[in-house]
């Protein structure tokens, strides 16, 4: 068992446990924090796979942005201490069964499918990504880049419109 294997198993265990806790904890604020740790675990996994740029993005956007946003929304919508209501038993069982069945099934599929082990080095430094990002020839992602930016703009406008739609008497 090499050091990296151990590290990998540690990280994945960490991610999964944090995920389970985030999904099952009764307190909403605590579940947000578990989510935070789980995302950090994933970033660690990226680092382990030494795709640093993705890890950085992961940390900046997910951990920095989205989780913070979620925490803000928690404060806005309810007292963080209160217990969250339990889902109806039937649905929990059904959910659990569905999930287990899904996991087992995919596990089986992945297991059966012999992935070829290619050990070529994976050059993914930021420059190459940057070039590809704005490159317009074959394999370039200029178009998706522009589309995504429009999407983000639309999302921002949307959020503002939705969130700000306060009727005068309601204020």
């Amino acid at each position: 068992m090499t050091a990296s294997q151990i590290i990998f198993y540690l990280i994945s265990a960490f991610i999964l446990s944090m995920g389970v806790l985030s999904v099952t904890s009764r307190k909403i604020f605590r579940s947000a924090i578990w989510l935070l740790f789980s995302l950090i675990g994933i970033a660690a996994l990226y680092f382990w796979m030494d795709v640093q740029f993705i890890a950085a993005v992961q940390i900046v956007v997910y951990v920095g942005g989205i989780v913070v946003l979620i925490i803000f929304s928690i404060f806005l919508t309810q007292q963080s201490g209160k217990e969250m209501p339990k889902a109806p038993l039937l649905r929990t069982i059904a959910g659990a069964l569905a999930v287990l069945f899904g996991f087992a099934f995919t596990f089986l599929l992945i297991d059966q499918y012999g992935f070829p082990a290619i050990d070529q080095p994976f050059d993914n430094d930021v420059a190459r990504i940057g070039n590809a990002m704005l490159n317009t020839e074959q394999g370039g992602y200029a178009l998706p880049f522009e589309v995504v930016s429009i999407l983000l703009l639309a999302a921002m406008v949307g959020c503002i419109v939705i969130a700000l739609k306060t009727k005068p008497e309601e204020k």
Binding site: A87, R91, A94, G95, A98, G102, F105, L109
Partner: protein, 653 residues
């Protein structure tokens, strides 16, 4: 010898009367309807007498047998190549005889109704229906096709329905007409099935062809019909019995007689025409028409005889106890027709192989029956018209309201007496000769039938003279003073004419005109044989005189002495109640109501059930859209899982 020039006129003239008076009667001819109808019928009667003269005396006889001439014939409705209804006029001894009888009696009734029905609001419609009836009766008599006779058979039934229900304001008249039509319709069902059987095996609907096909032993149709059998009885017997059932229904024979007494609800001249002389003998005529086929099948003939004899005896017994004079006459008609039926039943066919010692042929029954039909028409219609005159005077049907009317109504009294003597079978009058021939024919065939017939003739004499004495003698006339006498001349003339006929008809040597195979039938007259019925007749008269000549309590004491039998006879042996029970309880409650209930609840319920089921299912599906997002997720995931499994494992393209 072409009859077709005028023969078709005989049935069509009354039809013209019907159409004319039916459509325009109420508005234009309300008063003169009677005259028009009577004139038209007079012409028809004249024509039929002329035809009779032509047929019997001038050219009907070829060789020594009267031919059956088909005067007119054209196809009316084709079913298949050789089976088609074609309207035609067939002239042979019985149909010409019937032509004369029907037109003459109808003329008498028309004349009588001029006086009797004067002042009725629907006077024109009355004569229209009389015209329709006479047309359909004449059509029935001369028809040459089995289906044509069925058509006129139904028309006769319908016109009798209309005439019985003439006083439609009276619920009893409406019920009586409905009962008459339904019972005869039930019998017609049998007749129709009989026709279908005979037509299917006889492969034709024309009388001559059917009779030829089914009587020649070696013909393919004969073999087919006798070989085919259903429940052990040969198809020929089935066919004939079914046809006889139709006849029995129309002639009010034993099981299907319940409608005749109630049919007295109609005006009396109608009863005189329909329920005495014409319609009720249609059954006898039908059996006579198909007699050659009947004669080769002994089972059918036995059925006819049994039904005939039972009806004769049964009706005579009931007649002795009835108090309504029209009901007495109705039962007496039924009894006399019973005579005619069993006369046919005991008759053989043709005259050659005379079995009896002297040369009286086997076909005596047939001639006797027709002769009795001929004479019966006259004196029975006379009786009814006489009763009509009496009712017209007394305005009630019950015997107890009558008595001692001989001085007030001399002509009616004399004519009624003549008719009673005739029907009782006293020597000079017509009834004696025809009944004696029937008794002779019965004597030849079977002793049992002869004895019963003899007994019934005694009973007939008794109840007729019971009726006569209670109307004209018994107690003094209790009629209120301002009565309008015996009625106009138009009511008296028919009585006189019919009385003359009741006497004269007896002396006609019927044998050499009407016989089963057309050849003359020598029927000698045996004084010794005639003694027995004559004695019984006179005995009956004396008994009636003894009981009813003067008002006394002997009849009541006799009635209590007889006790149960008298009561049962008075109640018509409870057959009406039996029929009512069957129709009301069994048919209506056990078949009609459940049928309607099943239709409403089960089948209709089924349809509404389907509608409700769709509603329920759609409700069920509706709850899937529960609005809960997570349920949708679950269904969504379930769908994906299913698709994945199918496309990976099951679906092998």
């Amino acid at each position: 010898m072409n009859y077709s020039s005028y023969i078709a006129l005989i049935p069509l003239l009354p039809l013209a009367a019907f159409v004319l008076l039916g459509l325009f009667g109420r508005k234009y001819f309300n008063q003169s309807a009677g005259i028009i109808a009577t004139m038209l019928l007079l012409v028809a009667a004249g024509l039929s007498l002329y035809t009779a003269y032509q047929y019997f005396f001038v050219n009907g006889k070829v060789g020594d047998a009267y031919q059956s001439i088909t005067a007119v014939k054209y196809t009316w409705l084709t079913f298949s190549e050789n089976v088609s209804i074609d309207m035609g006029i067939l002239l042979d001894p019985i149909s010409v005889m019937m032509l004369v009888v029907v037109t003459f009696v109808s003329l008498m009734v028309h004349i009588f109704s001029l006086g009797y029905m004067k002042g009725e609001e629907r006077f024109a419609t009355y004569y229209a229906f009389l015209g329709l009836f006479t047309f359909s009766m004449l059509g029935l008599v001369v028809s040459s096709n089995l289906f044509q006779i069925y058509m006129f058979w139904e028309l006769v039934g319908a016109s009798s329905y209309l005439l019985i229900g003439y006083y439609f304001q009276k619920p009893s008249a409406v019920a009586a007409s409905k009962k008459a039509f339904i019972v005869t319709r039930f019998a017609d069902l049998g007749f129709l099935i009989g026709i279908l059987i005979l037509a299917f095996y006889g492969e034709s609907l024309d009388f001559n062809t059917i009779i030829h096909n089914l009587t020649t032993q070696q013909s393919s149709q004969f073999l087919a019909i006798t070989s085919a059998s259903f429940l052990g009885v040969s198809a020929l017997t089935w066919g004939l019995v079914m046809v006889f059932m139709g006849g029995a229904g129309k002639s009010a024979m034993f099981p299907l007689h319940i409608w005749l007494p109630d049919a007295m609800e109609g005006p009396t001249p109608v009863s005189a025409l329909i329920h005495a002389a014409t319609m009720v003998v249609a059954g006898v005529f039908l059996v006579a028409r198909l007699f050659p086929v009947f004669s080769i099948n002994s089972d059918a003939l036995t059925v006819v005889t049994i039904i005939g004899v039972t009806s004769a005896l049964f009706a005579a017994i009931i007649a002795c106890t009835q108090t309504d004079i029209k009901r007495v006459l109705a039962y007496s008609t039924m009894s006399q027709i019973g005579y005619m039926m069993f006369a046919l039943g005991v008759s053989g066919y043709g005259g050659e192989n005379a079995r009896l010692t002297d040369s009286v042929g086997q076909g005596l029954g047939y001639t006797a029956s027709m002769f009795h039909l001929f004479t019966h028409a006259f004196f029975k219609s006379l009786l009814f018209l006489g009763a009509g005159a009496v009712i017209h005077l007394v305005h009630s049907n019950e015997m107890k309201d009558m008595g001692g009317l001989r001085k007030l109504m001399p002509i009616t009294h004399i004519s009624f007496l003549i008719a009673c003597l005739a029907i009782a079978g006293i020597w000079p009058f017509a009834g004696f000769f025809s009944k004696e021939e029937i008794l002779l024919a019965a004597y030849n065939k079977s002793m049992v039938v002869y004895v019963i017939a003899l007994l019934t003739s005694g009973l007939t004499a008794f109840y007729m003279f019971r009726l006569y004495f209670s109307i004209f003698w018994n107690k003094e006339a209790a009629v209120h003073d301002h009565h309008h006498g015996e009625g106009t001349l138009s009511m008296k003339l028919p009585l006189i004419l019919l009385a003359v006929c009741s006497v004269a008809a007896g002396f006609i040597h019927f044998g050499n005109y009407v016989s089963s195979d057309g050849t003359a039938l020598a029927s000698e007259f045996h004084l010794s044989f005639a003694a027995a019925p004559l004695a019984l007749g006179i005995g009956g008269i004396l008994l009636a005189m003894w009981l009813y000549k003067t008002a006394n309590d002997k009849p009541e004491r006799l009635a209590t002495a007889l006790g149960g039998l008298y009561k049962a006879a008075y109640k018509k042996f409870y057959i009406d109640e039996l029929y009512l029970f069957i129709t009301k309880k069994l048919v209506f409650n056990l078949i009609g109501r459940p049928a309607a209930w099943i239709d409403k609840n089960i089948i209709d319920g089924l349809m509404n059930g389907i509608a409700a089921a769709t509603g329920w299912i759609s409700n069920l599906i509706k709850t899937l859209q529960s609005g809960k997002v997570q349920n949708y997720l679950l269904y969504f995931f379930g769908g994906i899982a299913a698709l994945v499994i199918i496309f990976i494992y099951i679906w092998k393209p």
